[in-house]
Amino acid sequence: MKLLTLNFLTCAIKTCKGSPASFPLHPRDSELEIIETDINLPFLKNILPRLTWDAVRTISTELGLPELPATAPTREDLVEPSSTSEDDAEEVPTQVAKDLHRLLLETCVKEGKLVCGCCEHEYQVKEGVANFLLPGHLV
């Protein structure tokens, strides 16, 4: 499961939804794997405002990955200045863009747990698939 997916998930328990502590879920005991995919620069530029950067930083630190800067990169930070163009296809990604792509879309939790900071519930990740089913769902 990709780290970017965590930007869109919270604890599945209803009473946790109102609590800021239910986001992001905290990876624990994770086994990571890198699954390479092609970089999509227009996507990276546009996703920036949708990222909760503090959450991305927290997750990255908790996984023992290199510390991220306090503020999110800007669109300009992602494109080699010499290549800036009207046509997206002409633009060349910077190292910042490549690192962001690696972190959000290529770094995957293969096995481990996702823990809610509000109720401490642990969701299992097995073979890359996170399980959010709760006993209470199935009645």
């Binding site: 499961m1 919270t10 599945a12 227009p42 996507f43 546009n46 698939v129 089913l133």
Partner: protein
């Protein structure tokens, strides 16, 4: 006609096989009126990438169709796709279907994951721009969920599922309880929470679901909520066997 994703790797003994309902969703989402509607809302390439969530992905054929044809449908290819299913085998199958569709697309979009869960219960509020659901809609008794945990994985030490397990998993894909609406009603209740302010939802209904009542009910959610039939199939004497309802909020201004 946009290409239909390949699902040849999927085991239809325990994952719903694409059928008339699945294809009605594909046809509706890629119809000229829906494409115009979606482009109008989402094609501005400088806005954030739209997030498409499908609940109950099954084989993944619908989500893969959107992911593989994002450029045609949205007028942009930085579209995000995310899925959920209660059936873990479907989650794995659908991931592969979506990845295969993206790999063969000239303008690759961005696939997130398929998570194993109940409806959209694990999705952050107000994050979904396009929501898609082809529910278990047949009026038939709901399966007995008490064995879900054991049926949702390969039996310990075994390489194959059992016959009872497969029957249970397939029951999950069609049995919708009273009026075939029990699961759909639970999902409809989550829609206002998960949709972004600009978000829209496509939900499939069959004639036994009493679609006119369902739409009336949605319109009473509050000011601005709209629900219209935007695709149908199996017309018989004025009855549509299946239909797709689009649910959205009139944006003020």
């Amino acid at each position: 006609m946009l290409p239909t994703p390949s699902t040849s790797h999927v085991s239809f003994d325990r994952v719903y096989e694409p059928a008339e309902d699945s294809f009605l969703l594909l046809d509706t989402i890629s119809s000229s009126t829906e494409v115009a509607f979606l482009k109008d809302r989402f094609s501005n390439a400088t806005t954030h990438p739209p997030l498409v969530l499908e609940v109950g992905v099954g084989s993944g054929v619908v989500l893969a169709f959107v992911a593989g044809n994002a450029d045609n449908i949205f007028g942009r290819h930085d579209v995000l796709t995310l899925g959920t299913d209660i059936n873990r085998f479907a989650c794995q199958a659908a991931s592969q279907t979506v990845q295969t569709a993206i790999a063969s697309s000239a303008q690759p979009s961005v696939f997130l994951d398929v998570v194993n869960g109940d409806l959209a219960s694990s999705i952050r509020h107000q994050s979904v721009d396009v929501f898609i659901f082809n529910p278990p809609y047949v009026p038939a008794e709901l399966p007995d969920f008490s064995r879900h945990d054991s049926y949702n994985a390969l039996p310990a030490g075994k390489k194959a599922t059992t016959f009872e397990q497969d029957s249970y998993l397939l029951e999950l894909s069609y049995a919708g309880g009273e009026d075939g609406m029990v699961v759909t009603n639970r999902m409809l209740a989550q829609i206002p929470e998960i949709l972004s302010p600009n978000g829209i939802a496509y939900v499939l209904l069959c004639a036994q679901n009493k679609p006119e009542d369902v739409k009336k009910n949605i319109r009473s959610w509050g000011p601005g909520w709209l629900a219209e039939t935007v695709g149908s199939s199996g017309k018989k004497a004025g009855w549509e066997k299946l239909q797709i309802v689009r649910i959205w909020r009139q944006t003020s201004g």
